[in-house]
């Protein structure tokens, strides 16, 4: 069982308090009706399925209740960072560099 840092609570807590919520940074189109079938299918179904560092969402469902974003290595389960929903996507190269230190 891994531990996850909640960027809202400021605490690192057992995975059991959290729920995984899929890939991050997939915005629901503002005007869905203007989407072509292909665009809408892309939004609904297509995901990266990354082997390695993955931008993904978690929810501190048994704690503060917030959804937030994380970068986790899907091979090792290592979390490079977590950040609040709405914050910009961090630069992966910088994250990996910091992690190597």
């Amino acid at each position: 069982m891994i531990q996850i840092h909640c960027p809202y609570c400021g605490e690192t807590l057992p995975e059991l308090e959290f729920a995984y919520a899929g890939e991050a940074h997939i915005d629901r189109p503002v005007s869905p009706t203007e989407q072509t079938d292909e665009e809408w299918a892309e939004f609904l179904f297509m995901r990266q399925n990354v082997k390695g560092p993955h931008f993904e969402r978690w929810r501190h469902v048994h704690g503060c209740g917030r959804f937030f974003n994380a970068v986790r290595n899907t091979i090792t389960d290592r979390f490079y960072t977590t950040y609040k929903a709405g914050e910009p996507r961090p630069d992966l190269a910088t994250l990996l560099e910091e992690d190597n230190k």
Binding site: A19, R28, R59
Partner: protein
């Protein structure tokens, strides 16, 4: 005193005899004995039969790595455990133990015929034998495999013991309380850290317990040990014995299993048998020591053949000589010490046979001084004796030539092939290993976890080296904890250090093809099997392992992995690291299911949620059913009633007068804020912006893919406050989905969601007399058609309690749902019940609720829908707002597949012969088509207890909406049922009964 007990030796208390039984025969051991040490003290080596060949076996080791001496232990009814290691189980007065894998008796076993049919059972036997003919699979092979499978006998009775679990956070966890672990604990103690030291044995000390001759810091090793442990305890170190670290999970989470009662003669109250500790340690020190390797030669499994280090442990820790005239065979210095100790304790060591040509002069001198014959450059090629070794064949070695054999009589054969670092937990961390050519073993290298490994686990040998290494290596962990380390430099006199060489199978002058030279004792894998596997094409050690089952027994290859690798590598002509080591997986030692289940068994198996009215239902004889985590009253049978009869009665009574139903489990979400209407409007298909306060509307919730996810009635309580209801099972899921959209897609909306499922007890009254019954209790609103029409909601007072009263119906009758603060629910229910007697009020459960709603064609999400049903499919296009700019699922509904022809659509079904249909039954159009038939849909709901006087069903059928009146067929095992497609409303299609 028993024959093999040595006075003055060991840590057992000879003044406290303990009687236990083995295969029905009583034996007397002493306090501190294990079953194995007690049996050995009586000269009993034969403790079990092997799994495959049923060969007689004795204890080969003295600890948890034991592969052979597996026994059943019993403590009265229900308390039976198979496959317990006799070398670990402590004895207590009255303990019953039995041997395994024998029939009719341990000494004469019919299954040993497998041993004679040895050639037949060689590697890959199952793969080769049980292939053809195909017709034999079910009738011949499977029964055979099932009969042969399984080690020991499973318990058949309910386990009356309890199990526990606990979470523990600490700064430093040290696994293994041998010299390295204790030295590490010493450095960490008294520094304000929380330190935990665990050991799987009944006593801490590890190898020190077997080495009383050593002097540590000027004290005898045992004095030093007890002083040290007392100091650690005084310094606040948590010391845990009989506690096995079974697994090392991510981020320093270690699973510990603490055995609390297996060693006690009487069971203390309120004490679990085992406790699983989930320890999250900031830093971990692994000091698990090393395991001795057996030597591989013909007859190395005969009872009386055991590891030299274990013989030393039996002598020094338990005061038991494993034999009076042992022979020692070794390729490592350590076994020489075992020979010396046994000789000094009164045994006559017949010979020390060492495969090496050169051995340290001091060891040879000590052997000479004791008069022990030494045979260097010798090998062992066979052993004799039926149920116990009584002689051993020893041959001289000259290069690769094996000279003539000579039989030496003995009553025990002690072997040592050197030592293998215990890297099990280290491997769990995905730590990398490095091959050491000098030690011919894998050593730990890097690990991604915050963990250091120390002592014999790093290939160090000797107490002083282990102490110093423990004290030094822990410094790395302490530094990360911000604590300065001192690294005590221990001095040990009379320390025993040494080295050795790696052997594969011992050289022999006989045909290796006929040798029964065991590598994996528990799975009966021989060196020949491993070589055969390589000859038959296995190249990776992982394949060799699975083909031969080497290392796959309950001991997880603790003794066999390295020997197996050495032999496989030799057969492949490669170096060991090129062949690789199989993966060590948790648990380290066999673990009970109870330890994993902890408190969650029996009635406490999982969370059971109960409403505040549940107690009334229980007292009134309700039959319950689980709905999600809830238990709900399913029906309320009167004496002698079946479910069908009870449900028929409940349905009729509700339609005739009034029924009362506990609807408290419905999910409820309070949506509050200036954007509440906008939010609800975006989430649900129906238009909500213009819903007036005090009104309710049915809502359908879709996913953005367009499929129905949930439904419920939604009330606008105030301008900026909605009370949303969800299905019972969907409550948490729907709230999560709403929070997701709100927090991440529409954070600009000024609205908040609060779960109020449990704020309210919800009592539903339905039936023509519902308003008459309820009216006298209500203050603040008149229950008339004009003042409080269908689909209204009001805050008022009911039976003196502040209430949120709804006029809604899930039955087609006049209906009310009365919400009061949860704790008052039961009182409200009872008041209505009492007043309802004059209307013959009837309590009904979920089954009647299902029937009554089905008669009206109201869907149940998750029963009539399955995640691929759209509102159109369900015939609920009316619930979809046509003028809305957007709602969740709106774009999804226009996906090509969702607007395609011939989708499965929800319809009613009436069987032509009035028979009842199975829910889930498949539907076909042409019953005469060849099998496999084309299935066109399935029955989703089906009831025969309703008010319509005949069975009704709902189904999803391809193009069903355009097939009204057509006949479809439901093939069942015994017959085919014909049914006519109808609309989904079976009762009161005009909704005339909703009017007060």
């Amino acid at each position: 005193m028993s024959t093999y007990r040595v006075r003055g030796k060991g840590r057992v208390d000879a003044s406290k005899p303990i009687v236990f039984t083995f295969d029905g025969k009583p034996y007397t051991g002493v306090k501190g004995d294990t079953v194995a040490s007690a049996l050995l003290s009586h000269g009993v080596h034969l403790m079990g039969r092997s799994f495959k060949y049923h060969r007689p076996r004795g204890a080969i080791a003295a600890g948890s790595e034991e592969p052979n001496a597996l026994i059943g232990t019993r403590r009265g009814a229900g308390r039976f455990e198979p496959n317990t290691r006799a070398t670990v189980q402590e004895i207590w007065e009255g303990l019953e133990t039995t041997s395994q894998n024998k029939f009719p008796s341990l000494k004469f076993d019919v299954g040993a015929v497998n041993d004679a049919a040895y050639m037949m059972f060689s590697a890959g036997f199952y793969y080769k034998t049980f292939m053809w003919p195909r017709s034999f699979w079910d009738k011949v092979y499977e029964p055979f495999i099932r009969a042969a499978a399984g080690l020991g006998v499973s318990p058949t009775e309910h386990d009356p013991d309890t199990y526990a679990s606990r979470n523990l956070y600490c700064d430093l966890l040290i696994v293994g309380a041998g010299p390295a672990g204790i030295a590490a604990a010493r450095e960490a103690s008294g520094k304000g850290l929380s330190v935990v030291l665990v050991d799987e044995n009944a006593e801490m000390g590890g190898s020190i317990l077997s080495e009383p001759q050593a002097k540590i810091e000027g004290k005898t090793s045992w004095d030093w040990l007890s002083d040290e442990l007392a100091d650690l305890k005084a310094a606040g170190v948590k010391l845990m014995t009989r506690t096995t670290a079974i697994a090392y999970y991510h981020e320093n989470l270690i699973g510990l299993v603490e055995k609390l009662t297996d060693h006690l003669p009487t069971l203390p109250a309120d004490t679990p048998r085992e406790r699983m500790w989930r320890v999250r340690a900031k830093q971990v020190v692994l000091a698990q020591g090393a395991l001795e390797k057996p030597l591989v030669f013909h007859g190395n499994d005969r009872p009386g053949v055991m590891l030299a280090g274990s013989a030393q442990t039996y002598l020094n820790r338990y005061g038991v000589k494993v034999g009076n005239s042992p022979v020692v065979v070794t390729s490592h210095d350590s076994a020489w010490y075992a020979a010396f100790d046994l000789q000094d304790a009164g045994a006559y060591v017949q010979a020390i046979v060492d495969t090496r040509a050169q051995v340290r002069q001091d060891l040879q001198a000590e052997a000479r001084a004791r008069g022990i014959p030494v045979k260097l450059s010798h090998t062992v090629t066979a052993t004799g004796g039926r149920l116990r070794v009584n002689n051993v064949r020893v041959n001289p070695l000259s290069g690769t030539n094996v000279g003539a054999g000579q039989w030496i009589k003995c009553d025990a054969l002690l072997m040592s092939g050197g030592w293998t670092p215990s890297l099990h937990l280290f491997s769990h961390t995905k730590g990398s290993l490095t091959w050491d050519d000098d030690l011919t073993t894998f050593l730990p290298k890097d690990t991604p976890e915050d963990c250091v490994i120390t002592g014999a686990s790093r290939g160090l040998w000797g107490t002083e080296a282990a102490l110093r290494d423990g004290a030094t290596r822990v410094g790395e962990a302490l530094a990360k904890l911000g604590v300065e380390a001192t690294a005590t430099e221990y001095t040990v006199a009379d320390d025993r250090t040494g080295s050795g060489v790696m052997m594969r199978e011992l050289p022999t002058d006989r045909s290796p093809g006929k040798a029964k030279a065991f590598v994996d004792f528990q799975n009966d894998v021989t060196a020949k099997d491993l070589r055969l596997a390589v000859r038959e094409g296995m190249r990776s050690i992982e394949h060799v392992k699975r083909y031969t089952t080497n290392g796959m027994a309950t001991d997880q290859g603790k003794m066999s992995n390295i020997n197996g690798l050495n032999i496989a590598a030799d057969a492949l002509g490669k170096k060991q690291p090129q062949v690789g080591l199989t993966t060590f997986r948790p648990p380290y030692t066999p673990t009970t299911f109870g330890a994993f289940a902890g408190y969650h068994r029996g009635e406490h198996f999982e969370v059971v949620r109960k409403t505040q009215i549940d107690g009334w239902a229980e007292e009134n004889g309700a039959v319950f059913e689980p709905v999600g985590q809830w238990r709900r009253a399913r029906y309320f049978p009167k004496a002698g009633e079946t479910m069908d009869q009870a449900v028929t009665r409940e349905c009729a009574a509700t339609r005739a007068s009034v029924g009362i139903f506990d609807a408290s489990t419905l999910g409820k979400i309070e949506v509050v804020g200036p954007d509440a209407a906008e939010f609800v409007n975006r989430m649900y298909t129906n238009p909500f912006l213009k819903l007036a306060p005090g009104k309710c509307r049915y809502g359908l919730l879709l996913g953005d893919d367009g499929y129905i996810r949930d439904d419920g009635v939604i009330a606008r309580v105030e301008e900026d406050r909605f009370h949303v209801t969800t299905t019972t099972g969907g409550a948490a899921r729907v709230l999560n989905m709403m929070e997701d959209y709100l927090q991440t897609e529409w954070p600009d909306l000024n609205v908040w969601l609060t779960s109020t499922t449990e704020q309210w007890s919800t009592v539903a009254l339905n039936g023509p007399n519902a308003a008459k019954l309820l009216a006298p209790f209500v203050e603040g609103i008149e229950l008339t058609e004009e003042a409080f029409p269908h689909m209204s909601c009001v805050n008022c007072t009911v039976a003196g309690y502040p209430a949120r009263l709804w006029r809604v119906s899930f039955t087609g009758e006049i209906g009310f749902e009365i919400n009061v603060a949860a704790p008052y629910g039961r009182d409200l229910w009872e008041k209505l019940w009492e007043a309802g007697q004059k209307y013959d009020i009837t309590a009904y459960g979920t089954e009647t609720m299902h029937v009554l709603r089905a008669e009206k064609g109201y869907i149940i999400v998750g029963q009539d829908t399955d995640g691929t049903v759209t509102p159109q499919d369900a015939g609920m296009d009316w619930a979809v707002g046509k003028k809305k700019a957007d709602f969740v699922g709106m774009r999804g509904l226009k996906r090509p597949d969702l607007v395609a022809e011939n989708r499965k659509q929800l319809v009613g079904l009436l069987t032509e012969d009035n028979s009842w249909l199975e829910e889930g039954a498949q539907i076909v159009f042409d019953p005469k088509q060849p099998i496999p038939m084309t299935m066109r849909g399935h029955v989703t709901s089906s009831y025969n207890q309703g008010t319509t006087g005949r069975p009704i069903a709902l189904a999803v059928i391809e193009g069903g909406h355009s097939k009204m009146g057509e006949t479809v067929y439901i093939p069942m095992p015994d017959r085919t049922i014909a049914a006519k497609i109808t609309g989904t409303v079976f009762y009161d299609p005009e909704n005339s009964r909703l009017k007060i």
